[in-house]
């Protein structure tokens, strides 16, 4: 337990000392949102939501899109230890490999939750995002499920891949391609037919499904249990595979 807590605290301390990446991740969606709001509003109005302001799709969409990149930092943190030559020192400590893995993952789940709350909160303050009768408990469940899911996926990537470039490729693919497919950029029903058909393979699809139920359909917990169950299932499977696949003694290549 000591090892887990020590590594978790270390991650948070490192982020506090060097927060540039997170500041960019928090700032970018807030800059992009006003540029897209009118277009998204028109799109929703034409899709049977005449009172929608656009924020109902835009804010969760950007949160889900950039959320994958934020989660990617959990994998980078592992590779960075190899680059800093501190990995072997961690391995030589009493921390077990699973404690190490959990120590890297847990802070990023917290940071991811914080990121989502800041995005949704900023959406409420600056872009008129309202629950419109949707359940706060359902929103909490959605946010927690998505954070667990994407962090577990990137931790599995860190356990599997040998180079940071491979992880970066997955994070880019996961954020942009799967985000787009999952309806984070435009609603899924406006995607081409083939894309709409394969969209459910994307974790972001299920997160957006839950957000739409809450913000556009005034949904409660019962309405998001399905998509959140899928997100949590992905989290459990990816986390389990990461735990099985992870070998602390494997050499990883950070940036040269």
């Amino acid at each position: 337990m000591n090892g887990f807590l020590a590594i978790s605290r270390l991650q948070l301390r490192i982020i506090r000392r060097d927060p540039v990446f997170l500041v960019v991740m928090f700032g970018m969606p807030l800059i992009l949102m006003p540029l897209m709001k009118e277009t998204i509003a028109l799109s929703l109005n034409a899709s049977g939501y005449p009172d929608a302001t656009g924020a109902e799709q835009l804010v969760p969409g950007q949160t889900v899109l950039f959320g994958f990149m934020v989660a990617g930092s959990a994998a980078f943190a592992i590779f960075r230890e190899h680059g800093w030559r501190t990995w072997d020192r961690l391995r030589a400590s009493p921390a077990s490999p699973r404690q190490m893995l959990a120590g890297f993952a847990a802070p990023w789940v917290l940071i991811h939750l914080f990121f989502q709350f800041v995005m949704l909160g900023a959406g409420g303050v600056f872009f008129d995002l309202r629950l419109n009768g949707g359940s706060p408990a359902a929103l909490l469940l959605t946010v927690v499920s998505f954070a667990a899911c994407v962090v577990a996926i990137v931790i599995l990537a860190a356990a599997t891949f040998r180079t940071v470039n491979q992880v970066q490729a997955l994070v880019n693919l996961g954020a942009m391609v799967f985000g787009g497919l999952g309806g984070a950029l435009v609603p899924v029903e406006q995607l081409p037919g083939w894309a709409e058909a394969v969209a459910p393979i994307s974790p972001q699809y299920w997160a957006m499904d839950a957000h739409r139920a809450i913000f556009l359909e005034s949904g409660g917990v019962a309405d998001v249990v399905g998509p959140c169950g899928i997100l949590l299932s992905i989290a459990v499977v990816a986390g389990g595979l990461a735990s099985l696949r992870f070998r602390a003694d494997e050499t990883k290549e950070f940036f040269a």
Binding site: N2, A6, I7, R13, R89, R91, A92, D249
Partner: protein, 312 residues
């Protein structure tokens, strides 16, 4: 830390191969509390492999390691808390302060909040880092970073301390501080294994010397012990050009050994006139002749047949 004289490390039959290359061939090593063992060998002799196995970073193909009676592989966490290792390459968190680095490694080794703070202060004082405690590690010089790197291994006061080429790239002041810290740790009861190929350090540490070559431990003893056992009288010759004395028939019985392309050693009691006659055509390139000194370099050469000169 351990009681002086108690056995802290017991490594038996350590064997490790990387493909075709046998890095360790059935090595045994025992180290007691309060003693410093200098593992002396050329690059690639097996020093780092041995330390990595003892620290539990590398699984041996055969053999066992016990630290204070705890099997390193059967009870990994407990054994790890007994060991402090400073690997060869500097590994510190540059974005954190010196204190944060020391406290983190104390915390992960199981120290309480109060103890890790106290030990960080102690280690900083020991290594001359007290004034730097609140400085970011990014701003440290190479020598300061190296001291912090070593300090991170000392902070939980481990009974077994493993230092792999601790002074590589360090300035003289850092070198002296590290050596003093190692001596102090041993005086407090730690067992220390210190790998190096830098001989003055070994002498300064007054360590028990273990000579390793090609994955085998070839000799062990104090400096005086090894010199008395292995030093052979002889002379050293220096030439103005590259020569190969092994090809000189008249010198075969004097067992010439290269100390460099222009420096050679000959065994036995030698007469300068006799040497000049035996050198034949090479005599014209001879610059200097001196009697071999009874030092560790000569002992190492005698035991391994190879010189440590030129190792970095």
């Amino acid at each position: 830390m351990g009681q002086q004289g108690c056995r802290v490390l017991r490594a038996v039959g350590l064997t490790k191969a990387y493909g075709e290359i046998e890095a360790l061939r059935g090595v045994d090593l025992e180290v007691d509390a309060g003693s410093v063992v200098a593992l002396l060998g050329r690059n690639g002799a097996g020093k780092t492999t041995m330390l990595s196995i003892i620290a539990g970073l590398l699984v041996p193909d055969a053999g066992s390691v016990e630290v204070n009676g705890i099997d390193v592989w059967a009870d990994r966490a407990t054994a790890a808390s007994q060991i402090g290792i400073a690997p060869q390459e500097t590994g510190i968190y540059r974005v954190l302060t010196v204190r944060e680095n020391l406290e983190f490694f104390g915390e992960i080794a199981g120290l309480s909040r109060r103890d890790k703070r106290r030990r960080a202060d102690d280690v900083a004082e020991q290594l001359g880092l007290t004034d730097l405690l609140s400085r970011s590690a990014t701003t440290l010089s190479g020598g300061e970073a190296r001291r912090l790197h070593t300090g991170c291994a000392l902070v939980h006061a481990p009974p077994l301390l493993l230092l792999d080429e601790a002074t590589v790239g360090a300035d003289v002041a850092t070198r002296n501080q590290l050596i003093d810290a190692v001596r102090e740790m041993a005086n407090e009861g730690a067992a220390v294994i210190y790998t190096t190929h830098y001989l003055p350090e070994v002498e300064a540490l007054e360590a028990d010397i273990v000579i390793i070559d090609d994955g085998k431990l070839l000799a062990r003893g104090s400096r005086a012990d090894l010199v008395s056992r292995y030093f052979a009288a002889g002379v050293e010759l220096e030439f103005s050009i590259d020569v190969d004395l092994r090809s000189v028939d008249a010198l075969v019985e004097m067992a010439p050994v290269a100390l460099g392309s222009r420096r050679w050693q000959l065994q036995g009691e030698c007469d300068i006139v006799d040497i000049g006659r035996r050198l034949g055509a090479h005599a014209s390139a001879l610059l200097a002749v001196e009697a071999s000194r009874p030092d560790l370099e000569r002992v190492f050469l005698e035991i391994t047949g190879r010189s440590l000169e030129g190792e970095a």
